[in-house]
Amino acid sequence: MATVNLENIKKSYANGFEAVHGLDLSVGEGEFMVLVGPSGCGKTTVLRMVAGLEEVTSGTLRFGNRVMNNVPPRDRDIAMIFQNYALYPHMSVSDNIGFALKLRKMPKDVISKQVGEAAGILGLINWLDQKPGQLSGGQRQRVAMGRAIVREPSVFLMDEPLSNLDAKLRVQMRVEVSRIQRRLGVATFYVTHDQTEAMTMGDRVAVLNNGSLQQCDVPQVLYDRPNNIFVAAFIGSPSMNLYEAFLGSNKTTLSLGSQSIELTDDLVKLRKGLNRYAGKKLIIGVRPEHLMIPGSNDQPYLYGDVDLIEALGSELLVHFSIDARRVHASGVQEDLDTGFSISGEGVARAHARTNVSIGNRVQIGIYVEGIQFFDPTSGNAIWD
């Protein structure tokens, strides 16, 4: 078992492109650390540097107290699971799982015992003599897991291991991977672009964007107290509704387009930083579950036009538009990756039996304590 420490890690390529800018991150013994971010944010590069498959340009990578920067992958005591599983097609399931042990020149009976145990845990006993080409996607994923766990490594590295599975199997394997990781208690780096996977699996989640760490914390903190617009928009599904707003000089009147709501004094006291924005523009973020449809007169509300309703069975996702300016965080949505858009679309969660139709103008109640505030220039959260 080992802790993994990344100290000011940078990665740049021969063409001058810097993929990772001074990353500081530590993973404790047995901790499940998820690296999440959009495509091209550098998360796989970080994982490959930890594995030794990419050189670290500068900074220090440690496993425990040992500096690993120049240690080849085979001497790092790591096990890696790849997106496409990377099973050896010419070997049977049994040989795939036991290959690393064979390379360590372990006795055949020990290999056989350990392979059998891993296969038992993963439900692969009946497939040990098959070749990977004869297995389903889920079974191949299990073999890849088996190959990793049988080695009892110091560090697990997983590069989007569930992304090739169908939605139902992915949910099932998500639970299984988490269960096995907790059982083995090995420090784990898990790369994904799926924020649901990140939130459900990680002890802590590191959100990356453009090669920089945006925030690293336990999932609930990321959700409740995002550091900036990027984290706010990336974490949560559906995404947080972000709008350009204007805070009145009384510090409690918040205008969104032509409409306004009143903030509570308690909220303003809690968010001392709001004092600096009196009479200024800022960005507000509201989670879909903090919007109530229909709203009531005893709480702040806005009016919006219903554009689309998605019935999920347990709830409705009501897409609406208001006349405020919607803000998109750069990089979160690839097709809307710059600045502001003029329409004020938003989405709210509503009870499955809510009586609402497309085209309705509805009252949308806002749970003001749930509103997040961000600086319009830096995108950073406004707290103190």
């Binding site: 490959r48 594995a51 030794g52 498959l53 080849p72 992958p73 085979r74 790591i78 096990a79 890696m80 790849f82 997106q83 496409n84 990377a86 099973l87 050896y88 097609p89 010419h90 290959f99 690393a100 390379l103 360590r104 190959r147 590295l157």
Partner: protein
């Protein structure tokens, strides 16, 4: 049967006849004596007996096999290691090196055979298996390297990475992962090299002139150039010489199609 299929069937039939007729001619002619051949009828094993009496078939077959096997083994060693390096090592200038190797495929053996002969005389490599083997290796390696490079480019990087994480160095990845999964490409190289080397006459005539190192095709060439030429005897020898190539093709043909279409699709 639809007219289109009938037409295709007819074309295939004609092509088959064109391809098979020489074999038919060789088989029928070899089963006649010289006089039966001239009469155009009869059946006899005389030409086969004559062949084995006038040509040291076993010795020359063995010589052919030694030259072929050694050349192919060397070509495989060079082509697979170079192909893997060119496809996966990403060293500076690898594109330029590959271009040079592909350029080597454009050089006809006839254009280099005389300079090679002159050099090999100086190196005492004439009438020596190794001289002929070197020529075959020089001629066959560029195409084999190109084929192996194309094949290894199709091997996912993750497979190489997985091998490295499991405890292998680049050499181990090459021998224990890349080579075993390259069977179709290896089979293609074996077939595509064996047939021309086995059938070659030019290099053998120049570099393997003495009877003790002569290959079977050279032996047949000598038979064909003797004062009295026995066509049935020559046909028997020719038929015999096609058998090893056919056997090699039959053994490896199940890999050949996938090997020949390497790189055609992802």
């Amino acid at each position: 049967m639809p007219p289109g299929r009938v037409f295709i069937f007819l074309i295939l039939f004609v092509v088959s006849v064109v391809i098979m007729y020489p074999f038919y001619f060789m088989a029928v002619t070899s089963m006649r004596s010289q006089s039966q051949y001239e009469l155009g009828k009869g059946f006899s094993f005389a030409s086969w007996i004559q062949l084995f009496q006038s040509v040291p078939v076993a010795k020359e077959m063995l010589n052919s096999l030694i030259v072929c096997a050694c050349a192919i083994v060397i070509i495989l060693v060079l082509a697979t290691s170079a192909g893997f390096a060119l496809a996966k090592a990403h060293f500076r200038g690898h594109g330029f090196v590959l271009l040079g190797i592909v350029g080597g495929m454009m050089i006809p053996v006839q254009s280099i055979i005389i300079p090679e002969y002159v050099n090999f005389v100086g190196l005492h490599l004439i009438n020596n298996y190794f001289g002929a083997i070197l020529v075959y290796v020089a001629v066959g390696t560029p195409f084999a390297t190109f084929l192996m490079t194309t094949y290894f480019r199709g091997v996912p990087e993750e497979l190489i990475d997985a091998g490295r994480c499991d405890g292998l160095g680049y050499g181990g990845v090459f021998t224990r992962i890349a080579l075993p999964i390259a069977k179709p490409a290896l089979a293609t190289v074996v077939v595509l090299q064996f047939i021309p080397i086995w059938n070659d006459l030019l290099v053998g005539l120049l570099f393997l002139q003495e009877p003790n190192v002569r290959t079977f095709t050279v032996g047949l060439g000598v038979l064909a150039s003797s004062r009295v030429v026995s066509i049935p005897g020559l046909m028997a020898g020719s038929l015999l010489s096609t058998i090893p190539a056919a056997v090699i093709y039959i053994i490896f043909q199940r890999y050949l199609v996938s090997g020949l279409t390497l790189g055609a699709s992802k």
